[in-house]
Amino acid sequence: MSRIDCEHVWKVYAGGTVGVRDLSFTCNNGEFLAILGPSGSGKSSTLRMLAGLEDITQGKILFDGRVVNDLSPAERNVALAFESYALYHRLSVYENIAFPLRARGFKDRDVDKAVRSIAETLDLTSILKKTPSELAGGHQQRVSLARALVRRPNVILLDEPLSHMDQRVRVDLRARIRRIHEDLKNTTIYVTHDQAEATALCDRLLILHGAELQQIGTVDEVWNSPTNKFVAQFVGEPGMNFVPGKIDAPGQVSIQTQDGRVAFEFSGEVAPEYIGREVTIGIRPQQIRLVPTEGHGTIAAMVRLLEFRGESTILTLELPDADRTRVKAVIPAGLKRHQGEKCWLEFPPTAIHLFNEEEKAIIHRRDATGSST
């Protein structure tokens, strides 16, 4: 197990395309870190540089304080599972999983014990004798995962390891992967474009966009204090809503509607230069409250669409501002709403986020532990 440090790491491809721009972060010993971002954000390039499969253009990667830039994947002692399975098609499932152990000269008895144990944990026992070509994509991916988890490497690197599995299996494997991590506490870096999966598994999230680091923090930190609009929108489904507004006074922001300005109180502080300025108000769909009557700090809205989700319903609501901005709200499935219905929305002061023209978060809040965000 290792601590990983990335220090000002760049990846520039031939032709000048920047894959990763000046990335610095630490993954602590035993931590489960998810690298999350849309396609083309630089997540796989980052993982491949950590693995040693890709040259580092500039900067340093350290394992336990030791620079590994010039070490091969084997010398780094990393275990890998990729979206594309890279299994040995002439070997049985058993031998595929056993491969990294045999390559390191483990005795047959120890190999057998380790293979059977991980096969049991990942529910592969019944297919150990098959060859990969006899398996569906989801099962091949699971074998690839077992091969990565069978030994105790310094670091486990997983690149979209569940992407080809159907959702029922994914739910099951999330629980297993999390359990394996709790038991072994391997340093694990997990790349995904799926924010729900990242949230489910990791201790901390690292969010990339356009080859650059956007934010790194616990799920709670990223959820409650996104540093910019991209993160606010990307994490959470549906993502954060944005509405144009203006800061009237400390702790008060307002939205211009056809019937005048509607003011909302927000908790936390903004720098004095923002008073009187136009900003973007952010509010999570899960934190909008629907109230039956107009009151202080409520805004009218019209229900335009309903999307039933089982345990909840997503409403698309139209606000009475000049742009007829649409926002989404998630309500418990038990609350019945109808298309075309008028309702009133309340934005709790602690749920309001504000972003400046550069799309950066500008509210400073102190949370219960006293740390400033």
């Binding site: 489910a200 990307f234 899960q286 335009r304 669409l305 999307e307 989700r309």
Partner: protein, 376 residues
């Protein structure tokens, strides 16, 4: 717009039965989804409605008019295929405009009007910047949106959409799903929609048909399907985590009836539930075997014992969602999922900690066993 009705439709490919016997009515202006796993026959149904596959037997009607003998181009349908079927030598614009240029169209569009319509649908689906590109320069998700735009650009009596957003990445899939719902709402179009993703089916549909191996498993409003799954198959297919299914037996003593699974798990059943369970129980050698179904959000978790309705299990794993967490328990070689929280805070439950679980008696279902429960 048209009503689409299928009556006892059957489809064979050689000796192989693709559709065993399917009947349903998709009302005029309805968003009608067909949900099922791969190989259930979903696309076959769509192709038969489009007329590109003949039915083996049975009838297809549009507004009570038999369609079996009507060629595809005269059915007034517009279709989007999962495999896109774009013309490779055309730009995205030309692909989308193609149905508007059909020689069969009575109304000829001026170039300006054509551009207006293509641009409008392209902007709606967020692909207006791709219009001059050819398919080979588009990603899978972009091609899929071009294909969808081509299907939606013209007025049709029936829109047939086969997994039209399956290849978009997660974020885009959700936002495009909302756009489809908006399109259907604004134009009151009749849409038959095929998907294997239960979330799309729940969010979009007025009526939802669950297809299994060429037969209708259940058909109803999304709320009915979610809250009252007719079979264990439906319960498993719709919802995440999937509905918990526990195999056990009914055991009566001292005037009470319990559902027992293995040695550790026993829960007392309310009288009305006993009656329901009895109805579907399989009797063997004086024993009554039955399958219990309950959704993850219908199980309460507590550190205290809440009486005969509750039982204790150690936590196997905790998986967080942003606002809720899913606790996993091992029960009879399978996983039991329980959703907790919802107050925006992560739960403080610890691994291996034994907690008490109580099943909501109003949300318990009993089923005949029709699917295998395997781990994963």
């Amino acid at each position: 717009m048209a009503e689409v009705r299928l009556e006892n439709v059957k489809k064979l490919y050689g000796q192989k039965v693709a559709i065993r016997d399917v009947s349903f009515t998709c009302k005029e202006g309805e968003f009608f989804s067909i949900l099922g796993p791969t190989g259930a026959g979903k696309s076959t149904i769509l192709k038969m409605i489009a007329g590109i596959e003949p039915v083996t037997s049975g009838m297809i009607y549009f507004n009570n008019r038999p369609m079996n003998a009507v060629p595809p181009q005269q059915r007034g349908v517009s279709m989007a295929f999962e495999t896109y079927n774009l013309y490779p030598h055309f730009t995205a614009y030309e692909n989308i405009a193609f149905p508007l240029r059909s020689p069969r169209r009575q109304e000829k569009l001026t170039p300006a009007e054509e551009r207006r319509r293509v641009t409008e649908i392209a902007e709606f689906l967020g692909i207006e910047k791709l219009l001059e590109k050819r398919p080979q320069h588009l990603s899978g998700g972009e091609k899929q949106r071009v294909s969808l735009a081509r299907a939606l650009v013209r007025e049709a009596d029936v829109y047939l959409l086969d997994e039209p957003i399956a290849h978009l990445d997660a974020k885009l899939r959700f936002s495009t799903q909302a756009l489809l719902k908006e399109f259907a709402t604004n134009y009151g179009s009749t849409i038959v929609y095929v998907t294997h993703d239960y979330r799309e089916a729940l969010a979009l549909s007025d009526t939802l048909l669950i297809l299994r191996k060429g037969l209708v498993e259940q058909c109803g409003a999304p709320e009915d399907i979610y809250y009252r799954p007719a079979t264990d198959f439906v319960g498993r297919l719709v919802g995440e985590p999937p509905m918990n299914l526990i195999d056990g037996e009914l055991v009566s003593h001292d005037g009470a009836t319990y559902f027992k699974a293995g040695n550790d798990f026993s829960v007392r059943l309310r009288d009305d539930l006993v009656a329901l369970a009895e109805k579907v129980a399989v009797r063997e050698g004086g024993r009554r075997f039955v399958r219990l179904g309950i959704r993850s959000e219908d199980i309460a978790v507590s550190r205290e014992n809440n009486g005969e309705q509750s039982f204790q299990l150690p936590i196997y794993a905790v998986v967080h969602e942003v606002e809720t967490s899913v606790l996993t328990f091992e029960l009879e070689k399978s996983f039991l999922y329980v959703r907790v929280g919802g107050d925006g805070k992560l739960s403080d439950y610890r691994l291996s900690e034994p907690v008490w679980l109580s099943f909501n008696p109003d949300r318990m279902f009993f089923y005949v066993k029709t699917v295998e429960i395997s781990k994963g």
